[in-house]
């Protein structure tokens, strides 16, 4: 999954667009979603970001749909609570036998949050699917983020892929040896997996130290960067889009759906 995401980030149709512009549009959309008082603007962001991912970056629709389903269960739990604890307005639904009721205000708040979460998620996926991590590191360096933090992040990033591969191999061999049949066995096997993984990780970290020392590592990782200028039409389009969303957000602030 991670490899596939990063593959798309490296090969999509927006690859050659300036990473700064893509990051700026994505982050500004997120901020607009969070600060929007009504659910219309976040839904507009969700729609336009999805359109950008599908039409401009040419990410397969089926893959994108699958991605969107991943975080849904995490959102659902908290939304349900908000739905029940927020009172006020007409009662829409009562749970028989329990002191629980859904009211109009609760439903509106839950809808607004759902719209914001959805808009934010689409914006995050827009960044994830169009901008490779390496270019984000490069941007962070230009923004004067402390070097030690960037180096640590880059090394962590590199190791994530190696570790996922290894965790998958250990997991598959454990499954083949019937390691996850009962609950007790599962906990034991998972602990074994995590322990083996940690030790292997540590050893590969130690050999990385050796390899880096052999190449005259002096506490700084120098990575050459290429800069792509921001094209004026792209910047204008981005700003136009953001101001349109802002306009919608302000003008539809009072709109409630229920």
């Amino acid at each position: 999954m991670y490899e596939v995401l990063e593959d798309f980030a490296q090969t999509n149709n927006l690859r050659e667009t300036s990473p700064g512009l893509k990051l700026f549009i994505g982050l500004a959309s997120i901020l607009l979603c969070v600060s929007s008082p009504g659910p219309v603007a976040p839904l507009l962001v969700a729609a336009s970001m999805s359109a950008a991912v599908l039409a401009l970056a040419k990410i397969p629709a089926r893959f994108y749909a699958k991605l969107l389903l991943v975080p849904v269960s995490f959102a659902a739990m908290s939304i349900v609570v908000i739905l029940f604890i927020t009172g006020g307005g007409a009662v829409l639904l009562e749970v028989p036998g329990l002191p629980l009721a859904i009211t109009a205000d609760g439903a509106n708040l839950a809808l607004l949050l759902l719209a914001r979460v959805f808009g934010g998620m689409c914006s995050l996926y827009f960044i994830a699917l169009t901008t490779p991590m390496t270019e984000i590191f490069d941007l962070l360096r230009k923004l004067r983020v402390p070097a030690v933090l960037i180096d640590l992040a880059m090394l962590t990033y590199r190791f994530i892929f190696i570790l996922i591969e290894e965790a998958g191999q250990i997991y598959r061999s454990q499954v083949m040896r019937l390691g996850y049949r009962r609950f007790r066995e599962s906990v034991h096997s998972f602990g074994m997996l995590a322990g083996a993984l940690f030790i292997r990780t540590w050893e590969s970290g130690e050999s990385l130290v050796l390899a880096m020392d052999a190449r005259c590592y002096d506490g700084k990782l120098g990575i050459p960067s290429d800069s792509r200028p921001v094209s004026v039409p792209a910047l204008a389009g981005g700003l136009l889009y953001l101001s349109a969303v802002l306009g919608v957000s302000v003008s539809t602030g009072g709109v409630v759906l229920v």
Binding site: V81, L109, R116, M121, A128, V148, L152, F159, A167, G191
Partner: protein, 230 residues
């Protein structure tokens, strides 16, 4: 427990970013000092960060079949102390947000506080207290990791209840959020404690140098533990 992007309204997401910021700054300062003294610390911290990322993206065996995952923060807190664990937590959470849309950018402050600061700090304090009192090492690790997981979810519930007090007020909202999360998180905390304990056991058996080098266990304790296992 990640709070989703867009879930926390203004001003709460700004407040939590401000709350987390000093810990990150202290962590960066400690990190800079550590790297200047021992260059090999950087790659080793990086693999630890990657380990936390992978551990928290693996699915745990759980009772109800829900999609639950360990936080792995307890281990980071025990190994490196709470401030550096906060920096590792920040990196892991940014990756999870940008890779997986799991968590978010505006909710980063809140998530860093619950998973990167509160959890590891609790694990660290319990581990230190336990070793000083001479308690059983494995039991200490179990309690530290399980409580770190629990504290993470309690803090998340507090954050959500502060932002959405509803009509019942803060305490009513807090108990509602806590009750919903408790269904998955209490068994999960116990499982995470058991798993981190097993991880610790494997490290002691196979590569105890890691623990002695980080000044977590003295050589005599390691020898005692290995003899007890043999």
């Amino acid at each position: 427990m990640h709070i989703m992007e867009g879930f926390l309204p203004s001003p709460w997401w700004e407040i939590w970013i401000l709350v987390s910021l000093p810990f990150i700054v202290i962590g960066l300062y400690q990190l800079n000092k550590l790297v200047r003294e021992k260059r090999e610390a950087l790659p080793l911290l990086a693999v630890a960060g990657a380990f936390v990322f992978v551990l928290s993206s693996l699915k745990l065996p759980s009772f109800n079949g829900s999609c639950s995952h360990p936080t792995g923060t307890g281990l980071g807190g025990i190994l490196f102390g709470p401030c550096i664990a906060a920096v590792l937590g920040l990196i892991v959470l940014v990756f999870q947000a940008v890779f997986l849309a799991h968590g978010g950018i505006t909710t980063l402050g809140a998530n860093v506080f619950s998973m990167g600061i509160a959890g590891p700090a609790v694990a660290y304090l319990i581990y230190k207290a336990g070793t000083r009192a001479g308690a059983n090492t494995y039991a200490t690790v179990f309690i530290a990791a399980a409580l770190a997981d629990l504290v993470t979810y309690v803090v998340t519930s507090i954050q959500l209840a502060l932002a959405f007090p509803g009509t019942t007020g803060f305490f009513g909202a807090f108990s509602a959020f806590a009750a919903v999360f408790a269904v998955t998180q209490v068994p999960l905390a116990i499982i995470e404690g058991a798993i981190i304990m097993l991880v610790f056991k494997y490290i002691v058996q196979l590569k105890p140098e890691i623990l002695t080098r980080l000044n977590l266990l003295s050589e005599s304790t390691v020898n005692k533990l290995r003899e007890a296992a043999a």
